[in-house]
Structures are given as structure tokens and as C-alpha cells.
């Protein structure tokens, strides 16, 4: 995989590319994430046709607090790629990638449900696992493990 093709194209939009445990992680700026994912999906060199997984991570008390992590896979080249985007607590919004992969639908709804991340452009951004009237986002670090009472 020639990652320079990607860094050349997106330049300053990509903060870092690291390889640890034989896994490549690309950290990207929020505003280029959809063009970047589209490029990784459609470019012959990467051909990441699978969105394997999408999830959030809460790094409280760090700032920026949240990361959205995309795991991509290419059937053609049989390689994996991880794309990470950092989001501030005050503005936990990122563009939805449902237009690229239909399978992103439930992943994004789950992430909204459990972390409170807003996926802009998602056709039906509602809670998925928890009841619609639930208050709070349980996978946030400041949500207690025990003792939570629904108002």
C-alpha cells in the first residue's frame, strides 16, 4: 500500500500516518473525512470496499475528547486500514458516511446512541440499542457504571 498517494492528495488534512502491530492508522482532520473515505474506497491502490467497523472512543479528560474510528478493508488487496478523526466535546459533529456504505447506518446510529456523536446527513439518526426516551450516552466516561437513575 502506497500511503504517499493519500498524503500527497490530502496534504495538511492528514495529521499522521503510523504503523503499529502491522496496522496502519491514518489520523485525519474532520473536514476532509468524507472525501478521504471516498478516495480510499474508490482509488485502485487502496480499494477499501468494506466498512468493517465504525465506533467512537472517549478519551476524557483529554482534549479533543472523542475519536471516531473507521476500520476499512479491501477484498481486492486484502489489507486493512484504520482512519481516525478527533472531535471536540463542544462540537461532536462529523459528516455521515452512509452515502458511501449502506452498512454505516446502524454503526452511526449506535455511536450516536452511546456517545452522543452527531452524524450530519444521516437519514435517520435515532437511538438504536437504547429506548428513544433514554437520557444520556452510556459509553461516555462521565456516565456512571452503577447508580444511574432514569429521570
Amino acid at each position: 500500500m502506497n500511503v504517499e498517494l493519500m498524503t500527497d492528495k490530502f496534504g495538511g488534512g492528514i495529521a499522521s500516518v503510523t504503523t503499529v502491530h502491522d496496522e496502519i492508522t491514518v489520523t485525519a482532520r474532520r473536514d476532509i473525512v468524507i472525501p478521504l473515505l471516498r478516495f480510499l474506497k474508490e482509488d485502485e491502490e487502496f480499494a477499501c470496499d468494506f466498512l468493517t467497523d465504525l465506533c467512537g472512543v472517549d478519551y476524557l479528560p483529554e482534549s479533543p475528547r472523542f475519536r471516531i474510528v473507521y476500520h476499512l478493508y479491501s477484498l481486492k488487496h486484502q489489507h486493512r486500514l484504520r482512519v481516525k478523526v478527533a472531535l471536540e466535546e463542544s462540537d461532536p459533529v462529523v459528516d455521515s458516511c452512509t452515502s458511501l456504505w449502506a452498512g454505516a447506518d446502524w454503526h452511526e446510529r449506535e455511536c450516536f446512541d452511546l456517545f452522543g456523536i452527531i452524524f450530519k446527513g444521516h437519514p435517520n439518526l435515532q437511538r438504536l440499542l437504547l429506548p428513544p426516551d433514554f437520557v444520556g450516552h452510556p459509553l461516555r466516561k462521565d456516565f456512571p457504571l452503577e447508580g444511574f437513575k432514569e429521570p
Binding site: T52, G103, D105, L114, L145
Partner: protein, 389 residues
């Protein structure tokens, strides 16, 4: 919603939804106009719990994700942590893990086929399949003490070595199993009722599968021979000979044929494991994660302290993140684990195959008959505990 259509609930308590899945169906007569799956009834917050448990303690929770394939969950989780900590696993332990994972695949597929056929009106196959599944459960019970939730794998190897009965029991199971699969096929493969209920029903072609992220037998039934055991071998799968059964059309019937083929291949792998099982240790000698031997505790104070530390605090994992996946009976089962250097994970994300595969449901049943919806739900082979976590 218009005057002609009617909304009904399929589930959450309905035998054909295989757990607590609710699907709101909009029907025009018997035709499904639209469907809205509703999940989450079995959400237990396992990913939240993982952040408050030591790395060892999560093994028990991983059993509860997909209770029909607990060994596969154990394997996926421990191999992820081993990758993160770069622990080398003894060859004997890797072989036994493969045997257990493949026995689990057979048990899971048998249970799937029995209940799926039962949904479609074939009562008899269920009894035959539970008979063979019982043999696998007996093997698990005598080895691990538990049938459904064995928690048998450890970070670094296994909880115990296999005992004297194991090899004999596994051999006698695999000796007869190929014939038994032949028996199932005489009941179903050419059965006109079975074919009319499954052929051309619930088609999901390769392109749709990839777009949705669908993996496992569903993807292979659409003609793509992608299996993680072949493309990214783990736990020494590269040392065994087996084929990947694939289908053509991606309908319910092809999924049945793929899973039948997989059961035969699994039996072949298990046979190779027990015939070539190497001698040696079944647990890595890695002082970070592995408990000292019992006899050491009586004589060695350092071992006793280490034992105490592992129980009370767990062990620390170097900071980092890792994604690792295996081929579970239902598809790609992955774990994404983030460590901040402490004794508890910062984040554990499960990538459950059932969750992703279930998203294809609406696409498969829209415009089809209500009775097809039952066939399609069965053919996805969902376990709701894994979907909801």
C-alpha cells in the same frame, strides 16, 4: 402507510425471530411493503462493563456475546489481547484452540439448521441435529465443565490441557459426522418443499453484501470466497487443508448449502488437529499474564505475590490499539481494543457479525411475502445477544 396496508409486530417474542428481535412489518395482504427492525432488547452494556473489568475478567463476558459460539468469542478476544501484548502462543495451545473453534462452528451450524428448518415446517431435522450437537456439548462439558459458556481460553493459552478422553471423543465424533451430514442432506437438499421455500428467496448479491459489510456464510453464498481463516490465518489455520464452500445466487438455499459444506470442512480440520497434535506446553511462559502453577505457590513467595497481583489488580497492557478478527460461525467477529497502559481497557469495541448482517434484512424482504421473512430471518443466523451486546 395507506388504507390498504396494515402494520404488525413480528416479535419481540416470536419463535421465528430467534431471540428478542422485533420487526415492524407493513403488510399489504401477505406482501411486505416495508420493514423496520427494532433491536436493543438484550442490551447489557457489555462494552461499558469491559472498561471496568480487568483484561482476564472480560473473557467471561465474551461468552455472553454469542452464546451459541462462545469458544469463537473467547478465541477472538484472547487473540486480540495477545496481538496487543505480542505474546507467542505454544503450538499445542493453538491447535487445541482450532479444534475447539471448529467443534463450536459445527455445533452452531447444527443448531442453526435445526431451528431454521423447523421455522419452515420441517420438524424432523431438529431432532437429528440436536443429537449431534449434544455430542459436541458433551465434549465441551467434560473438558471445560460447561456446555454453553466455557470461558476456556486464557490470554496466553488455555485454562487447562486436554485430558485423556478428549482425543477419543473427538475422533469418534468426526468418524461418524460426515455420514450424519449426508443424512441431513437426504432430508432437505432435494426436498421439493424445502426448495420451494428457500430457492430464490432473500437474495443478497455480492455487491449488496459488500456495501452493507455483510460477511461469513452470507457473503460466501453470494459467490465470494472470502474467509478470514484463509486470507488472514490466525491460531495456525495456515497449517490445515480445507476448502471454502461458496454459493452462486446468494439466496436462502445457497446459504444452507454453504453451511452444510462448512460443517464437512470443519470436521476435516478437527481430524487434522487431533492427528497432528503436537506435544508441549498449553500455556505461554509469559509472566505478565499467566498465573504461576499451583505447586509453585506453596514454595515460592514471588510466585504467590504474582498470583495475588494478577487476581487483585490484573496486569498492565502497554498503551496502544489493535483490531483483530476471526471467522466466527456467523462471519467476521472482530475486537478493537484500546489500552491507556492500565490494567483495564480504555475501550473494547466488538464488531459482531450478526449486527452487521442483520442490516441486510429490510433489503431482502421488502416486496416479498410474509412467510419469506421468516425464512430470511432464519437464514441470516442471528444471535440477538451479540447484536445488542
Amino acid at each position: 402507510m395507506n388504507e390498504r396496508t396494515m402494520k404488525i409486530n413480528l416479535g419481540p417474542h416470536h419463535p421465528s425471530t430467534h431471540g428478542v428481535l422485533r420487526v415492524v412489518l407493513e403488510l399489504d395482504g401477505e406482501t411486505v411493503v416495508d420493514a423496520h427492525p427494532d433491536i436493543g432488547f438484550l442490551h447489557r452494556g457489555i462494552e461499558k462493563l469491559a472498561e471496568h473489568r480487568s483484561y482476564h475478567q472480560f473473557i467471561v463476558l465474551s461468552d455472553r456475546l454469542d452464546y451459541l459460539a462462545a469458544m469463537s468469542n473467547n478465541l477472538a478476544y484472547v487473540t486480540t489481547i495477545e496481538k496487543l501484548m505480542e505474546i507467542d502462543i505454544p503450538r499445542r495451545a493453538r491447535y487445541i484452540r482450532v479444534a475447539l473453534a471448529e467443534l463450536q462452528r459445527i455445533a452452531s451450524h447444527l443448531f442453526w439448521l435445526g431451528t431454521h428448518a423447523h421455522d419452515l415446517g420441517a420438524m424432523t431435522p431438529l431432532f437429528y441435529m440436536l443429537r449431534e450437537r449434544e455430542a459436541v456439548m458433551d465434549i465441551f462439558e467434560s473438558l471445560t465443565g460447561s456446555r454453553l459458556t466455557p470461558s476456556f481460553m486464557r490470554i496466553g493459552g488455555l485454562a487447562a490441557d486436554i485430558d485423556g478422553d478428549f482425543i477419543g471423543a473427538v475422533k469418534s465424533f468426526t468418524d461418524t459426522f460426515a455420514d450424519r451430514v449426508g443424512e441431513y442432506e437426504t432430508l432437505l437438499t432435494a426436498n421439493p418443499i424445502w426448495k420451494s421455500r428457500t430457492k430464490g428467496v432473500g437474495v443478497l448479491d455480492a455487491e449488496a453484501c459488500i456495501n452493507l459489510g455483510v460477511t461469513g456464510p452470507m457473503l460466501r453464498s453470494a459467490g465470494i470466497d472470502w474467509d478470514i481463516r484463509k486470507s488472514h490465518p490466525y491460531s495456525s489455520y495456515e497449517e490445515f487443508h480445507f476448502e471454502i464452500p461458496t454459493g452462486k445466487t446468494g439466496d436462502v438455499y445457497d446459504r444452507y448449502l454453504v453451511r452444510i459444506g462448512e460443517m464437512r470442512q470443519s470436521a476435516k480440520i478437527i481430524r487434522q488437529v487431533v492427528e497432528g497434535l503436537p506435544a508441549g506446553p498449553w500455556l505461554a511462559r509469559d509472566a505478565r499474564t499467566v498465573f504461576p502453577e499451583k505447586k509453585e505457590l506453596n514454595t515460592n513467595i514471588a510466585a504467590l505475590i504474582r498470583h495475588f497481583g494478577l487476581v487483585m489488580e490484573g496486569f498492565q497492557v502497554p498503551p496502544g490499539e489493535v483490531y483483530h478478527s476471526i471467522e466466527s460461525p456467523r462471519g467476521e467477529l472482530g475486537f478493537y481494543v484500546v489500552s491507556d497502559g492500565g490494567a483495564k481497557p480504555l475501550r473494547v469495541k466488538v464488531r459482531p457479525p450478526s449486527f452487521v448482517n442483520l442490516q441486510g434484512l429490510v433489503r431482502m424482504i421488502r416486496g416479498k411475502l410474509l412467510s419469506d421473512a421468516v425464512a430470511v430471518i432464519g437464514a441470516i443466523d442471528i444471535v440477538l445477544a451479540e447484536v445488542d451486546r
